[in-house]
Point group: C2
Chain length 189, copies 2
């Protein structure tokens, strides 16, 4: 599926693998990520499939840049995928929830320490969505007015991130209070 993320970025502009990784980490990164190594190998595969083409720009004192451009076949594949209805919900693996589920043998304090730490992490992420991510989107529309339609959708995904983190922090607050009041002092086992 990374395939379509790459085609998506290249449908906006021709880019190198390195540049795609940069954009990804501040945009789709919160719901779709990849390491550089996987981006490079996937781009290579996409070129073999005829979905993208690459041109090498020689550089001095640095590795040459390999700039990828989407082909018409790539655009069509992307459009078909975008139009395909999403019929199933993605399972969202969550380490904290998994630990909490099996934490009955742990002490109340260990559980609360976990939850309070998590509270900080989610609050930080919430602030990122509200400041950095928001600014990033606003600057894009100022510098590239032709992306106004894209920006409407990017802002919708940013707003999702904001609501998600606010909900997570809220749930943690409630859960911390509940555990403080109802979890037995001594371990169950």
């Amino acid at each position: 599926m990374l395939k379509y993320a790459l085609l998506g970025f290249l449908s906006i502009d021709s880019l190198t693998g390195y540049e795609i990784e940069n954009f990804m980490s501040v945009s789709t990164g919160y719901f779709w990520q990849a390491k550089l190594s996987q981006i490079y190998t996937t781009l290579k595969k996409l070129e073999e499939e005829g979905m993208v083409e690459s041109l090498v720009e020689p550089q001095e004192d640095r590795p040459d840049r390999r700039v990828y451009t989407i082909t018409e076949a790539g655009r069509e594949d992307l459009r078909n995928w975008l139009g395909d209805p999403v019929l199933e919900l993605d399972v969202k693996k969550d380490t904290l929830l998994l630990k909490l589920f099996f934490s009955a043998p742990m002490s109340k304090e260990v559980i609360l320490t976990q939850l309070r730490l998590q509270r900080n992490l989610h609050q930080k992420q919430l602030n990122i969505y509200r400041t950095e991510t928001k600014e990033h989107i606003q600057q894009t529309v100022e510098n590239h007015p032709q992306l106004t339609t894209d920006v409407i959708l990017w802002e919708a995904t940013r707003r999702f991130g904001e609501m998600y983190e606010a909900m997570y922090a809220q749930w943690l607050d409630e859960t911390i209070i509940y555990i403080e009041e109802h979890f037995p002092e001594t371990a169950a086992q």
Copy 2:
């Protein structure tokens, strides 16, 4: 990490791979899932590592049941993992968000169809958390009063699922209205 989910289930009771899959699909399934094939191979690996032991119960007219029991080493490994602080947020891959992010070249109607379909899926999942999952937890505590402490934590994860789906549905409602009012009628490209 599936390793710890399996140790977690076996820390509550001795079970077969098949039974673990059944419990998983109605409990941790929403934040940690695995296919039977992976469960079987992982249990085998855990036995080689000395974390679990298995006994074969012969059966007639059916494959013999292989019942796994957690060892003291397994319990210790699980406890260590449960106490380890979770320092990073899991990236939650979301196909719908990825599609939406790159949907600027699609028509307004295609996008709205996607979002409305998704609205139904999340509403259904919300109902499952509110009815089936809730009943399942209540029956567990009635049939196994010694699991009262576990059930406090299971209910917390169920509540997370409920809040998550309610938030997702809410975001979809707002996004649908926003797109209806602000997305251009003709494709941007």
